[in-house]
């Protein structure tokens, strides 16, 4: 499985996105942000990379809270 991560400005952004995406049927998981991408102490959202475009569309309401979306081969 190929994974990516969505990075957020705040933990609350990650939690809101998790709630929204889970309700929409996506398989996501809150994980500590990989150090390669972020120095934040909180959480990021692991996503299945094949769904990234659909996830981007679903997350439009939370765009302001997103700090980045990255492919994460180290999680595979």
């Amino acid at each position: 499985m190929s994974y990516g991560v969505v990075l957020f400005h705040t933990t609350y952004g990650a939690l809101r996105a998790e709630k929204l995406l889970t309700a929409a049927g996506f398989k996501v998981k809150l994980i500590p942000p990989p150090r390669e991408f972020s120095s934040d102490c909180g959480v990021s959202l692991r996503i299945e990379w094949t769904t990234v475009e659909k996830i981007k569309a679903a997350l439009i309401p939370l765009n302001r809270e997103i700090a980045g979306i990255k492919e994460a081969p180290m999680l595979s």
Partner: protein, 384 residues
């Protein structure tokens, strides 16, 4: 002795059992620090805090829960807004009925060069819109008023004041310490830019909770942080983040307290804030009617339950308010607050400075029978 608690304007008591249960649950099972780690207990704590942010946002009619900034009380929220917005040279306008939680930060910034104008209210605590209209023909940076006086319960006409504030180019800040949880508030509809609330009064949470709610439309860049520090975000940077809530919310939050606040809001939503308001109007009406029949009693405020909260202030000819308060507590178990209620400006406006008043402030669980018992006790204590 059975206690009759008439000090809800200071803090609500007792709290619903659900509030205690929610707090204990956090202490026992969800001990992590929200936003500071990636493990399950930290995430669980983060979920609780987000849940309460969403409840608070919905409760006050805003859409974005990240615009709810949690603070330790209404005073901290008011300080954040007043000191965070006003800079030397700015003009601020307020009323003469404010609590010191508004007056003291305003007096502090006045010393740094902020121009402060205090619009006199009428002696019954009501606001003279003609004076406000004239004062706000000139530009201002901030207009701050309480939604209800903590001394006389008098409600402010928020929608009119918001319109006048915005016409002067000002941010409209409302101190809702006395109304959050007992009077419905919709920030969008009322035109409120910033709302400061206490978690431990009408919203039935524990002490140590409160917040500043920022409207969806307000530019939060107008507010500078008062506290700087750890947020869990941008940990590689030594500068404060510029996004909400982290920009204005440094340091670990009171998660058990916030869980209690969330349970308090649930309790209010379940009972219905309109039902609570109607009940409190009945209690206020009974208090005003009963007190007006007691010889020597002077009641302050607008004496109209439609235009005030359940807070009634009175004094009695030739009797000190401290003696009245002491005897009501000692002899009858009736708990109220006497004196100046941290609001010297309001008492000056009403003509009760410096002696103060006796304040009776029932809450949503107070019964009409308790009001009757309290009125009989006051009558007995006041007999010559």
């Amino acid at each position: 002795m059975v206690l009759i608690y008439l000090d809800h304007a200071a803090t609500s008591w007792p709290k619903p059992p659900e509030v205690m249960k929610a707090m204990a649950q956090v202490m026992e099972c969800t001990g992590g620090n929200p936003g500071r780690s990636g493990h399950r207990l930290s995430i669980a704590a983060g979920r609780i805090v987000l849940d309460v942010r969403e409840k608070v946002a919905a409760f006050f009619g805003i859409g974005d829960p990240l615009r709810v900034i949690f603070t330790t009380n209404a005073t901290a929220a008011l300080n954040l807004a007043v000191q965070g917005i006003l800079q030397p040279g700015h003009r601020a306008v307020t009323s003469s009925m404010e609590h010191n939680s508004v007056m003291r930060p305003l007096r502090h910034v006045q010393e740094t060069g902020v121009r402060l104008e205090i619009i006199p209210s009428r002696t019954d605590g009501t606001c003279d819109l003609g004076l406000w209209s004239r004062a706000l023909q000139k530009p201002a940076r901030l207009v701050v008023v309480n939604h209800a006086s903590n001394v006389a319960g008098t409600l402010a006409p928020l929608e009119e004041l918001a319109r006048l504030a915005h016409s002067a180019g000002a941010v409209f800040l409302v101190d809702a310490a006395q109304t959050a949880g007992v009077v419905p508030i919709n920030m969008k509809r009322a035109g409120i830019d910033l709302l400061a609330f206490a978690g431990h009064k009408g919203t039935l949470g524990p002490g140590g909770t409160g917040g500043l709610v920022i409207s969806d439309d307000m530019d939060h860049c107008l507010i500078k942080p008062l506290l700087f520090g750890g947020t869990g975000s941008l940990s590689d940077k030594e500068e404060q983040p510029d996004f909400l809530p982290d920009k204005l919310e440094s340091g670990t939050l009171n998660v058990p307290g916030l869980a209690g606040l969330g349970a308090g809001i649930d309790w209010i939503n379940k009972r219905g804030i309109e039902v609570i308001r109607a009940h409190e109007k009945r209690l206020t009406s009974a208090l005003i009617e009963g007190l007006s029949l007691i010889k020597g009693v002077r009641i302050f405020g607008c004496l109209d339950p439609e235009r005030c909260t359940a807070t009634v202030s009175f004094d009695a000819a030739n009797r000190s308010v401290s003696e009245l308060g002491y005897r009501l507590d000692e002899e009858y178990g009736i708990l109220c607050r006497v004196g100046l209620h941290c609001a010297p400006a309001a008492h000056r406006t009403m003509g009760t400075f410096p002696q103060g008043t006796v304040r009776l402030a029932p809450g949503n669980l107070t019964t009409l029978d308790e009001i009757k018992v309290a009125l009989r006790a006051i009558e007995t204590v006041l007999k010559p």
